[in-house]
């Protein structure tokens, strides 16, 4: 078994009477292709928000490479390699894709505090941006304001921005939601082509994609870990089928719900 990169121990988040994350302990191994599934309201996005520091847990702890990062500020977690995409696009609407990526790449290189040399003056920035723009088919719109871009393009930029952060652990929160059928596979091809030591935690509703992409799966129900295991075991687990995948006629509905 390879090394554990990201781990949560007894993670709990309480909003008043609601407990969206209830005693969750998961382990993400180095180079994992791990999926997090669960019905709506199971607490998947809350868990991502806890992992990235957007929310602070009520109790429990989060460990990265054996170090406690439970109270670490969000931007410092990114610098340590925990990078996410958002379920709902979060972009810099007044900047262009090129500027957004150049800023992100500069931040990775530790240049984002520089206030004298122009953005992109470092020789390493342009090639990195060029590669991402080409990979995500954004070259033709790279100088348009993000606010004016079509939804699909903004979605691609969202993921390109995350990859520009050079993640070691990448958290993908429903990366292909709203992406046209044809481009979905492409996104997964790019994510699949990430270096083998990058761990990916995928939150997704589309079961075909989950079973194609992931090697291991965690099922969340009502904020708690319901089942865990490799893809085959989960797909065949009758309890998982019952609560999540649904049985017989309701299968399709549940998967999209």
């Amino acid at each position: 078994m390879s090394r554990v990169v990201l781990e949560t121990r007894g993670l709990l988040k309480r909003f008043g009477g609601i407990v969206p994350t209830n005693d969750v302990s998961i382990r993400v191994h180095k180079g994992a292709r791990h999926a997090l599934i669960g019905p709506n309201g199971a607490g998947k996005t809350t868990l991502v928000n806890l992992l990235t520091g957007v929310l602070e847990p009520t109790s429990g702890s989060i460990w990265l490479d054996g170090q406690d990062i439970t109270r670490l500020a969000p931007h410092l977690r990114v610098r340590r390699g925990i990078v996410r995409t958002f379920q709902i696009n979060q972009s810099f609407s007044e900047l262009t894709p090129l500027q957004s990526l150049a800023l992100t790449v500069s931040a990775q290189l530790g240049l984002s505090g520089g206030f004298w040399k122009p953005l992109g003056s470092d020789a390493r920035v342009a090639p990195a941006c060029e590669k991402l723009l080409a990979q995500f088919h954004l070259d033709d719109v790279m100088n348009q304001k993000v606010a004016l871009l079509a939804y699909g393009k903004r979605r691609l930029l969202e993921i390109a921005t995350a990859l520009a952060c050079e993640p070691r652990v990448l958290l993908l929160d429903e990366p292909v939601a709203g992406v046209p059928e044809g481009e979905r596979q492409e996104i997964f091809d790019i994510v699949g082509a990430l270096p083998a030591d990058v761990s990916v935690l995928l939150i997704e509703h589309d079961m075909d994609l989950v079973f194609n992409f992931a090697k291991s799966v965690t099922v969340l129900v009502n904020g708690a870990v319901f089942a865990e295991g490799d893809v085959q075991a989960i797909a065949n687990d009758p309890r998982v089928k019952a609560v999540y995948l649904g049985e017989g006629e309701t299968a399709g509905e549940a998967a999209h719900g």
Binding site: T52, V54, A73, P74, H75, L76, V78, R79, V83, R84, F86, Q90, S91, F92, S93, E94, L95, Q99, S100, A102, L103, T104, S106, A107, Q108, L111, S112, G113, G114, F115, W116, K117, P118, L119, T161, A164, C165
Partner: protein, 304 residues
């Protein structure tokens, strides 16, 4: 832009005092644009930094030494320190909170300047600030009554600040300000420290506002409570409404238009200039700046 400013020096030697006022207001507006247009921090108390710069320069010239450059450095430093201290107040909260907090800070300083009358002269203002000669590469220049030296001095400070601001907004730091203005959550999640940047830009903007205040005290030989007054914070906001935010030159265009209109209208109808100014602003905002400056589009039929 810069050429036009330099040209004005030769074209209007008799209006140096007005030009000086315009340049000071322009610098003040550019400093507000840095935080409003780029970082998205609304402020109704930017006069706090203008005022502290003004009093610092005046008091320094009166009590310590009359050299304008050293005085300018003192004005900038005091405003920057105040800006850094106040920046913790604008880190949290929404636009409305920020409006109130900044307004409050300026009011507090106004009252402080009023009460500390042994130092500031209180409600009478600090009079009789006499500046020493301006040391330049061309030799020492005395501040003259027509204000030509004053205008040249103000223009030099404005140009330097503008060049610094321009480098700043085109740097990664400048873009990161726009990024956190557009989307704080996203800015964090690409590894940017939002708070550090807000503190930095607020301090820089405060320093520039302090420079503008310092210029006013040094070139007018006078500093009064008026520099902390609410109308100053509001006026500089109006200048940006006229000139536009987020491209740095808006403050300059706005200051030119605002001061010239003020000057012309109040010469024509001294009692009612506020009416015409108000009417102009209402029309400008309703029509929109883009359309307003293109009169030929006013009466065209809208294309379907």
């Amino acid at each position: 832009m810069l050429a036009a400013l330099l040209l004005s020096w030769w074209l209007l030697p008799t209006h140096a005092l007005l030009l000086n006022e315009i340049a000071i207001l322009a610098l003040f507006a550019v400093s507000l644009d840095l935080i409003l247009g780029y970082a998205g921090i609304v402020s109704l108390g930017h006069a706090a930094f203008f005022g502290i710069g003004s009093y610092a320069a005046a008091i320094f010239a009166k009590l310590v030494m009359p050299d304008p450059w050293v005085g300018m450095a003192v004005a900038i430093t005091s405003a920057a320190l105040l800006g850094a201290a106040c920046s913790v107040l604008i880190l949290r909260g929404s636009d409305l909170t920020r409006l109130m907090v900044t307004l409050g800070v300026a009011s507090i300083l106004y009252e402080l300047a009023n009460k500390l009358d042994t130092l500031t002269g209180g409600a009478d203002g600090l009079q009789g600030v006499v500046m020493g000669p301006l040391l330049t590469p061309l030799g020492a220049l005395e501040f003259d009554i027509a204000g030509r030296t004053a205008y040249a001095y103000t223009l030099a400070v404005l140009v330097v600040c503008l060049l610094i601001a321009r480098r700043l907004v085109h740097s990664p730091f400048g873009y990161s300000l726009q990024a956190l203005r557009d989307n704080r959550l996203r800015a964090q999640s690409i590894g940017l420290s939002v708070n550090m940047r807000l503190v930095a830009v607020y301090t820089i903007a405060a320093a520039m506002a302090g420079a503008a205040g310092g210029l006013l005290a040094q070139t007018s030989g006078f500093s009064s409570l008026d520099v902390f007054d609410f109308h100053r914070s509001a006026e500089v906001m109006l200048v940006l409404v006229i000139g536009g935010t987020g491209y740095l030159y808006g403050g300059i265009f706005g200051a030119v238009v605002f001061k010239l209109m003020h000057d012309l209208i109040s010469a024509w109808t001294p009692q009612y200039w506020n009416f015409w100014m108000g009417l102009f602003l209402v029309v400008l905002v309703l029509v929109g700046r883009d359309k307003f400056v293109r009169p030929w589009t006013w009466f065209g039929v809208a294309k379907p």
